[in-house]
């Protein structure tokens, strides 16, 4: 086992320990408040309005493959679908979940079905509510555009892997005066979201969805562990820079 793989395993183990620690301490005493992210606050308001108006919510989990690292953001999107479904179950028009990958499509349909079942409304589930809109970036985007245009959608929640083609989706939403909350793990996609989305989620904010939508104690714990580890990474980077500056760079075992 090399030092690099050992340190990798150490980081994973430390993260797991921190998550467990925060999960246990969080159950006993009141938590530190989460940093306010306006996008999530506005999302709740919009969901409420959509339910009152009888309009539809459109949720998209992107086009990341499940056997690649970008699946993580899609899983966050699926968790948000599960959480949002609990709130919109009383709406006349049921949400639509779009994706650009076959396996993600199956998972989104499974999530929808399980959500309806958990709410005791198994009969409300329609397989067509979980749609693969296209297997390539632009076919996915144009498929989502037609969903926004034709299905009386009032708000879009896009959480997953989206490239620059997301600008076309946002443009379609804007033309329909929809609110769009969007987050991607793709760097150029994030730049586009910053410019074009009404409520963009930047960097690791994408992964905080579960904690902000009160999906459970474990989500808040993992967010806190993420914060602690981020500060550790910052300290390690600064320490490494100082050591290099002092000509002691060879003291760093990884490289």
């Amino acid at each position: 086992m090399t030092i690099t793989s050992l340190s990798g395993l150490g980081i994973v183990a430390l993260f797991l320990l921190l998550m467990l620690l925060f999960a246990f301490t969080g159950q006993k005493k009141s938590r530190l408040p989460l940093r306010p992210i306006p996008a999530f606050k506005r999302l709740w308001r919009t969901i409420g309005l959509a339910v009152e108006d009888g309009t539809r919510l459109h949720l998209s989990v992107g086009r990341g493959a499940v056997n690649a690292p970008e699946s993580a953001s899609a899983f966050v999107g699926l968790r948000m679908v599960q959480r949002i479904m609990r709130t919109v179950s009383i709406s006349d028009r049921h949400p639509i979940v779009t994706s650009g990958d076959g396996a993600l499509n199956i998972l989104s349909r499974d999530t929808l079905q399980a959500s309806y079942k958990a709410m005791g409304q198994a009969g409300q589930y329609r397989p067509s509510a979980g749609r693969l809109t296209g297997p390539t970036p632009f076919s996915f985007a144009s498929g989502v555009m037609s969903v926004i245009a034709d299905e009386e959608v009032s708000a879009n929640v896009l959480i997953g892997h989206f490239g620059p083609e997301v600008a076309l989706i946002l443009e379609a939403g804007d033309r329909k005066n929809n609110l769009t909350l969007a987050g991607s793990d793709h760097l150029p996609g994030q730049a586009v979201l910053y410019a074009a989305a009404q409520e963009p989620l930047i960097g690791e904010e994408v992964y905080a969805g579960g904690a902000y939508l009160q999906a459970g104690n474990a989500h808040t714990a993992s967010l806190q562990a993420q914060d602690v580890l981020r500060w550790l990474v910052i300290l390690v980077i600064l320490g490494g820079a100082v050591l290099h500056f002092l000509g002691l760079g060879n003291l760093i075992p990884i490289g």
Partner: protein, 214 residues
């Protein structure tokens, strides 16, 4: 049926842990199991794409059947799908008999898909320019101005008009922005994304998030 979800969870967690540990501990057995699991994953993902395409066709057929808004486009999509599928089979048969003169699938890619995607790319450029202008109108704050100013500087520095390189911009400012500012910022965001991915992965591994089996 009652045990479906727990069994799926146990399998998913076990497979996840084997693949994760296999990245750090390199033993022949772990490597063999990890490789087999990853290959199964790739095969299942490819099969899932077929199921997804079935779902796509199903959704569009439903629109055609009920005469919903945009149903002519849905009919066109179904026709195009089956047309391409039949041409693919025709290509395959020609290839098997060794009488293939030209590939119709390649023709469709070159003369239909490629031009359509290029046009969408052009529309994307316009959509982005429009989004940038709209951002200044809806969010006229300092970060938005810095964002747009930097985008314009990089654009002018990397693709100068009429081939004329602007002295300080092209030689000093543009490389400085892309090699230092943008790279440092991108690495910072990527570190955040890596930590977020780790957090999500561990939640899935621990069975807290279960995107499978409900």
């Amino acid at each position: 049926m009652k045990f479906k979800a727990p069994i799926a969870t146990v399998f998913a967690i076990a497979a996840g842990f084997i693949v994760l540990i296999g990245y750090f501990v390199e033993t022949p057995i772990l490597l063999a199991v990890r490789t087999a699991l990853l290959q199964w994953g790739i095969l299942l993902a490819a099969t899932a794409m077929l199921v997804g395409i079935g779902s796509l066709l199903g959704a569009h057929w439903e629109k055609v059947r009920t005469g919903a808004k945009g149903s002519p486009y849905s009919a066109l999509l179904i026709l195009a799908f089956f047309g391409t599928f039949l041409l693919g089979i025709y290509d395959y048969i020609q290839g098997t008999w060794g009488v293939a003169e030209k590939s119709w699938l390649q023709w469709i890619f070159n003369y239909v898909q490629y031009p359509v995607q290029t046009s969408l790319m052009a529309v994307l450029a316009v959509a982005l320019a429009y989004a940038a202008i709209r951002m200044l109108r809806t969010r006229p704050d300092l970060p938005a101005i810095i964002f747009l100013g930097t985008a314009l500087l990089v654009l002018a520095g990397s693709a100068p008009l009429m081939g004329i390189r602007i002295p300080i911009l092209s030689d000093t400012l543009y490389p400085w922005i892309t090699h230092f500012l943008a790279l440092a910022g991108a690495r910072g965001i990527l570190l955040g994304i890596a930590l977020g991915t780790l957090a999500t992965g561990l939640r899935v591994l621990a069975g807290i998030d279960r995107p499978y089996g409900g």
